[in-house]
């Protein structure tokens, strides 16, 4: 497929409900069953090693009206929590064995329980990922949590999940993450070669297909990028920050780019490209995964790392990407992102880095207002 065809294909996958994704995949892999991963992160490798297809569950976007979930959640809860619950209540999760949540915020914690109480026949896992990255016990603890996940998942699917299978999956996902990093790097060196909206479509759709097929797609993209006509416009280079869990509508990303910003780096789809390098393929795979989570992860508002403050991470992302400004794009009511915004704002103000906050929700359908805001922001930087 050409890159344009890949983007179109990705968009079509993003327009599907999770049950449709599995149905579509079963046309090629008849026996496949899905396992949903609520953002930000869960060890996909263990799920894949269980013979399941890990699927990123990022709510229902504009595919589903909220008719049941409002009776379980208040109006001040983020969109992704409600539409995720709606997917379960509206029987749109056929073909899924289970779902994994992790400790990212109070809403996700409660969502796991609400889903568990309101659905039958689906395995709901809550991963207690460590909040303390610096303790000597963190690695032992994280590994034991992964081990518990492996044991319970194996019981559920009725077959063992071997170290060898996890190691194989680890290699697959290492290659996937390596290619995504390479595409991001290429795009920074060749502005205009692939837009952030296109790339986000591809990375998001990657969580809705078999990882082997996704590798082929990523290789195609990487191979074709040098031949793709690129017209580098005169823009403000920005980092997009705050969309690590609920994902902004693709149209919002397009609006940001149309308004004169070049997105150099971002934290979208963060859980699927969390590690800065390859996870070690030597030795015990669960220990390697635990080490990667503790020591090789990019900073994120859902992780506290005493030795690597998130403000430093953001400044490094700005510096390394050559960005001149930051766009905060938190989802409405996203507590981790909005709490960190206070720290980020102070830090960027101190360093003289211009920034703009743009909140979004998954069902927003008009983008004129944010586009005008971004355009005004960009013009204030471009013209004295």
């Amino acid at each position: 497929m050409t890159i344009d065809e890949i983007v179109l294909h990705s968009r079509s996958l993003l327009d599907m409900k999770p049950s449709q994704v599995i149905k579509k995949t079963q046309e090629t892999y008849p026996n496949v069953r899905g396992f949903a991963v609520f953002p930000v992160y869960a060890p996909h490798e263990i799920i894949h090693a269980a013979g399941l297809m890990p699927v990123g569950l990022y709510g229902a976007g504009d595919q589903l009206e909220i008719t049941h979930a409002d009776s379980r959640f208040q109006s001040f809860i983020c969109s992704i929590a409600k539409s995720t619950l709606e997917l379960f209540l509206a029987d749109e999760m056929d073909g899924f064995v289970g779902i994994a949540f992790s400790s990212i915020c109070d809403v996700a914690r409660n969502l796991a329980s609400v889903v568990s109480r309101n659905t039958e026949g689906i395995y709901v896992e809550y991963l207690h990922l460590p909040q303390n990255m610096a303790s000597e016990q963190s690695q032992t603890y994280t590994r034991s949590e992964y081990e518990r996940f492996r044991r319970k998942l194996a019981e559920h699917v009725g077959r063992p999940i071997t170290d060898a299978a996890i190691s194989e999956s680890l290699k697959l996902y290492n290659e996937q993450r390596r290619l995504i990093r390479a595409i991001y790097a290429y795009r920074q060196d060749h502005p205009g070669s692939i837009s952030a909206a296109e790339l986000t479509c591809i990375t998001k759709a990657g969580t809705r297909m078999m990882p082997g097929d996704y590798l082929t797609i990523l290789k195609d993209v990487m191979e074709q990028l040098p031949q793709r006509p690129a017209h580098a416009r005169d823009t403000v280079r920005v980092v997009v920050e705050g969309a690590f869990c609920e994902q902004p509508p693709i149209e919002l990303i397009e609006a940001i780019e149309a308004a004169g910003c070049e997105i150099r780096d971002d934290d979208m789809m963060l859980g699927w490209r969390l590690f800065t390098g390859d996870v070690s393929e030597q030795g015990d795979p669960l220990t390697a995964l635990a080490n990667a989570y503790l020591n090789e992860s990019v900073y994120c508002s859902t992780r506290h790392d005493y030795y690597h403050p998130r403000t430093e991470g953001l400044l490094a992302r700005v510096r390394d990407s050559g960005a001149k400004a930051v766009l905060f794009t938190p989802a409405k009511f996203c507590e981790p992102a909005l709490l960190d915004y206070v720290l980020f704002k102070r830090c960027l103000d101190d360093k003289g880095v211009p920034h703009l906050k743009l909140e979004f929700e998954e069902k927003m359908w008009t983008f004129e207002a944010p586009r005008t805001e971004v355009e005004t922001f960009a013009e204030s930087m471009l013209f004295d």
């Binding site: 005169d234 823009t235 004169g260 355009e375 471009l382």
Partner: protein, 268 residues
């Protein structure tokens, strides 16, 4: 020599201005806006190149503005019409701190800081009643060409008030005037007075307290200019080519960006 183009892809016309490194206008072009912005802008840029005596590929930088500013693939930058209108008007009348830009679909009142940067603005984007599109509808109804409207309006002896704030309802008022036997010039002057009144309201909201530059396609109508001059409490300046001022502003801003980028590339 440097050639920079400003292209204003408006809802009625697509205007192009080509300038050199001294911000001197070398050529201007225009095309009626159609569905395909690429074709329209090619026509507009082509006619500007012809008047400037250069070929299209000599243009080093293109800044787009207007409604269709995101639609031209080969653009280097897109800039809002507010910013461009302010800069274009300021370049022509440096002492003026207010601009009223009356286009086919939108009227904008802008206040400027020293240097031409936008300080505040008001627009009427939700309704065509305060813009050139309204005059086009009236001219069609009265069976006069839009080019004649400006001069005919000057012949009015008894301007007929049009009080409605809605284009559709205003048309009803005009039908009433016609049925009462009022003359075309009197009705047209009433429409111009109505537009001038709306523009004044918008200008007041941005702190109107000194001369204003009147730009946009409607500023080409003599009767409209006369109505503004009569109503506004401060002088009204009208440039020689009011339709191209926004494109000119885009070209000036494009030139600045082009120079800055060239410097940055040289340093790198």
């Amino acid at each position: 020599m440097t050639f920079v183009a400003g292209v204003d892809l408006g809802s009625g016309r697509t205007k192009t201005v080509i300038i050199d490194e001294n911000e001197q206008i070398l050529g201007m072009g225009m095309a009626r806006t159609e569905a395909d912005f690429d074709i329209v802008s090619s026509k507009s840029i082509g006619s500007a190149c012809e008047s400037a005596g250069i070929s299209d590929d000599q243009i080093e930088y293109i800044a787009t503005t207007g409604l269709g500013r995101y639609s031209l693939d080969r653009r280097d930058i897109q800039i809002t019409e507010l910013t461009c209108g302010g800069r274009g008007a300021h370049a022509l009348f440096p002492d003026a701190h207010f601009v009223v830009d009356m286009g086919a679909q939108c009227t904008r009142a802008i206040s400027l800081r020293d240097g031409g940067k936008v300080k505040s603005f008001r627009t009427n984007e939700k309704c065509a009643a305060g813009s050139g599109g309204f005059l086009e509808r009236i001219s069609r109804y009265l069976e006069v060409s839009i080019e004649e409207v400006g001069k005919l309006s000057l012949e009015a002896n008894d301007a007929q008030p049009i009080s409605s704030v809605c284009a559709v309802l205003a048309e009803s008022e005009i039908i009433n005037h016609v049925s009462e036997g009022k003359t075309v010039p009197d009705i047209l002057r009433g429409a111009h007075d109505s537009l001038a009144g709306r523009a004044l309201s918008q200008l007041k909201l941005v702190g109107f307290d000194s001369p204003v530059v009147f730009i946009g396609g409607v500023a080409m109508q003599e009767g409209m200019v006369d109505a503004c001059r009569e109503l506004f409490p401060y002088p009204v300046y009208v440039p020689e080519h009011p339709l191209h001022v926004v494109a000119y502003g885009a070209a000036i801003l494009g030139l600045r960006r082009h120079e800055k980028r060239t410097q940055e590339t040289a340093v790198a």
